[in-house]
Amino acid sequence: MQKMPAWADAILVPLISLLLAALLSGLVIIGIGEDPIAAFKLMVDGALMRSAGWGYTLYYATNFMFTGLAVAVAFHARMFNIGGEGQAMLGGLGVALACLYVPWPHWSLAILGSCLAAMLFGAAWALIPAWLQAKRGSHIVITTIMFNFIAASLLNYLLVNVLRPQGAMDPATAKFPEPTHLPTFRDMFSTSETILFRGSPANVSFFFAVLACVLVWLLIWRTRLGYDIRAFGHSEPAAQYAGISPVRITVVALLISGALAGLMAVNTTQGEAERLILNSTEGAGFIGIAVALMGRSHPLGVFLAAILFGFLYQGGAELALWTNIPRELIVVIQALVILFTGALDNMVRMPLERLFLSLRREG
């Protein structure tokens, strides 16, 4: 028996969770002597009311969509890929190599090449933990966390010692050549009279992220591989009964997950920085976990949650810029959102289920 209607499960629960997180955040802002209403208004103004604000919100959302999808795909196979951060870093390396060492004639070809490189490098970084999990039973949570550190150190070494142009002072690659630069929203949507998305980093990779959402949806719910992944995730003994190889599904699901995480680098590295810098992922790999949790591992949910977190990121930056609210508080707000939408999901869900049940009994 269904405890409550699907719409309540998909919309009402996260909405109430968000509201609770917002209320608590408001209390914290009052606690440090600021006006929560004004703060919220500033966040909305800064992130959603101007096209430049949207340009930032969607830029962050692009990252979170890729990493959120990465975590979601692994979730469907009941695996917790915490290594999105490291896989995205390696994806960045792939993008940098593709952009620097292949003479692309045009950005449209360059982005295909860099996407491929990002996926290959991200997937490769997930391969060893995946293999260890599938063959040796080494827990994926532990190994992927460790691989995040290895990735950071590896990039540090490569950027300082190998890829840094001679004479440059910062640990980064050379600027990517002109033909690889991706069109930004400003290039795409501005007309001669009005300039939109001025100065904002959102670029064509946003559409690739949306496309990835659609493809992941197809993969999970319409293909045999997706069926295998979900069956394995729900019950390993049943998967074995059906002749689904646990080793194969573990490895394949994590390769897809790693490839999706790697794709994020196309947005940050090729789309925004146009060179590979240290720590270009800025924690987006971890935000992806919250995005997948909040989006309930469904691509549409991931899409919406990614935009919400993009808003929080951009709104938070505005707060730090224009008020005395310290930047750290934004982390607190984000943490509250994650806490309420992810970890405390049942706190909202169970009373709601009871409410619906009692309504139905009376009705």
Partner: protein
């Protein structure tokens, strides 16, 4: 004579348990509806009903796991509140669960005092418990070595430990939930002797079961539950299995399986010298050989855990082994990629696994997704080389649910929302409708209501009559006896012997199941 004694008790003593108007709803489902019963002290009272009839809910209310929405509980004439199991124990109620709650690496004694240690130091309570236990054992003939590890004694003895646990806590009302599910017929008989002894000492016993035979053999009175309601309470001596079955299901039920004699054809499935050693190095199958012919049901009898599960899993491609398996004369690989479930299906072997909830179904998949499970690579289920044709699967599911009378016939309902019997019908429909050459069936009617049992048995007979080979594993001896055309008994990873159902009886099979070969063997 016995009746007279009972009557005398009734007049003098208040009922040991009296429930008045107990109701309990889970959401829209009314699990218990205005239930009233009264159980006299010193009697064995049976509660029988189909799965989901509300037996377990009622007992969980009595044991403090659930709180009733309405109604009152009287123990020995006194109204009581039972908010949790601690309170139930305090009022003298003990429960023996279907799945034992014992710590494997503790001794019998340690298990008995677990949760009732009575102090920070173990030594004094262990000494006290040893004394009480010895007395209890003498009084009720519950022979168990107090220093044996649980992992080293058999299930029959483990069950006695559960009973001792309850007695140690001074229970004088014992509830046993499906106590014979894991026992051999001989062990079950011993259990009933112990229960008689307990009754003679004035204990009150509630026996929950779905086996009509046990009710008839062991109880004084019996209550029948159907769809959350108590449909009747009768004296066992004044009823018959047929009447009870009818009260349970609400219509006339055929208890015997109606079938024509088998016409066995060629050997379809041949198994030779099958051996399995598990991860711990323990041999689970020790050279099993058997054949199943076309148009024949070979029943494998045996107490759970004697290699039947491993045999099914090897044949179904879930477990590696050594030896030979041939289907229609073709040898099948026993390890590696060609030996998985998918390859077995391709070779014409379908499999209704023993544990439908863990293996046969994905409980969080909808019925239609489950109807393709294991066959989801079939060309008929694909729209093109990339995407599956979910619409085709749903249409086919709707038709199969119709044919197998799955209720409700809703392809988009999640598997977990069907009753046990209907879940099993989904699995059986999926496997039988494939028209396999060989059908492996494990515990086809475990946790399945009587109406569905009848239906599933008819389907198996129909498949047999269509000339297919069926290998049936069941711990229900009745089921083996009535369905099989030939019976093989397994004990300790070996086939102890084969018998024809009309030439054997439960006693002989029971001995074989306990590993004792009779003079006839």
């Amino acid at each position: 004579m016995q009746g007279g004694k009972e009557k005398g008790r009734q007049d003098t003593a208040a009922p040991a348990i009296e429930l008045r108007g107990i109701s309990k709803a889970f959401g829209a489902v009314q699990a218990n509806k205005d239930i009233s019963i009264s159980v006299q002290p010193g009697t064995i009272h049976g509660i029988i009903g189909e799965n989901g009839a509300g037996k377990s809910t009622l007992m969980s209310i009595l044991y403090g796991f659930y709180k009733a929405d309405a109604g009152e509980i009287f123990i020995r004439g006194k109204k009581v509140q039972i908010p949790d199991s601690q309170a139930a124990i305090a009022t003298g109620i003990g429960m023996v669960f279907q799945h034992f709650k014992l710590v494997d690496n503790f001794t019998v004694l340690e298990n008995v005092i677990l949760g009732a240690e009575g102090g920070a130091l173990l030594r004094p309570s262990l000494a006290k418990a040893r004394k009480i236990l010895t007395e209890l054992e003498r009084e009720y003939e519950l022979h168990v070595d107090p220093d044996a590890l649980i992992s080293e004694i058999g299930v029959g003895k483990q069950q006695r430990v559960e009973i001792l646990k309850a007695l140690y806590r001074q229970a004088d009302i014992l509830i046993l939930d499906e106590p014979t599910g894991v026992l051999t017929p001989a062990e079950a008989d011993q259990l009933f002797r112990i229960l008689d002894r307990l009754k003679a000492e004035g204990k009150t016993i509630i026996l929950i079961t779905h086996k009509l035979r046990e009710i008839m053999e062991a109880t004084d009175t019996v209550s029948v539950m159907r769809r959350g309601e108590m449909t009747a309470t009768v004296k066992t001596a004044e009823t018959s299995p047929e009447e009870l079955a009818e009260l349970m299901v609400g219509r006339k039920v055929l208890l015997r399986v109606d079938k024509a004699p088998a016409k066995p054809g060629d050997k379809i499935l041949e198994v030779e010298n099958l051996r399995v050693v598990d991860d711990k190095g323990v041999a689970r199958l020790k050279g099993v050989s058997l054949d199943v012919c076309a148009g024949e049901i070979l029943g494998i009898a045996g107490v759970a855990g004697n290699g039947q599960s491993e045999l099914l899993e090897v044949l179904g491609g879930m477990l590696g082994a050594t030896g030979t398996i041939r289907v229609n004369g073709q040898p099948l690989p026993l390890a590696g990629k060609g030996a998985d479930g998918r390859a077995r299906r391709a070779a014409g072997i379908a499999h209704v696994p023993e544990d439908r909830q863990r293996k046969g179904l994905i409980m969080d998949f909808m019925a239609w997704e489950n109807m393709a499970f294991g066959y989801h690579h079939d060309a008929a289920y694909q729209s093109n080389s990339v995407l599956m044709d979910n619409g085709a699967i749903q249409r086919e599911t709707a038709a199969k649910m119709e044919r197998f009378d799955v209720r409700p016939p809703a392809p988009r309902l999640f598997a977990r929302n069907f009753s046990g019997g209907n879940q099993q019908k989904i699995v059986v429909a999926r496997e039988i409708e494939r028209n396999p050459d060989v059908l492996l069936v494990g515990q086809p009617t475990r946790g399945v209501d009587i109406g569905a049992i009848e239906f599933i048995h008819r389907q198996l007979i129909a498949l047999r009559d269509a000339g297919k080979a069926i290998l049936l594993v069941s711990v229900e001896l009745d089921e083996i006896m009535s369905l099989s055309d030939r019976i093989a008994v397994m004990f300790d990873g070996q086939v102890m012997g084969e018998r024809l159902p009309h030439e054997t009886n439960e006693t002989e099979l029971g001995l074989l199941m306990a590993g004792i070969r009779g003079e006839a063997a």
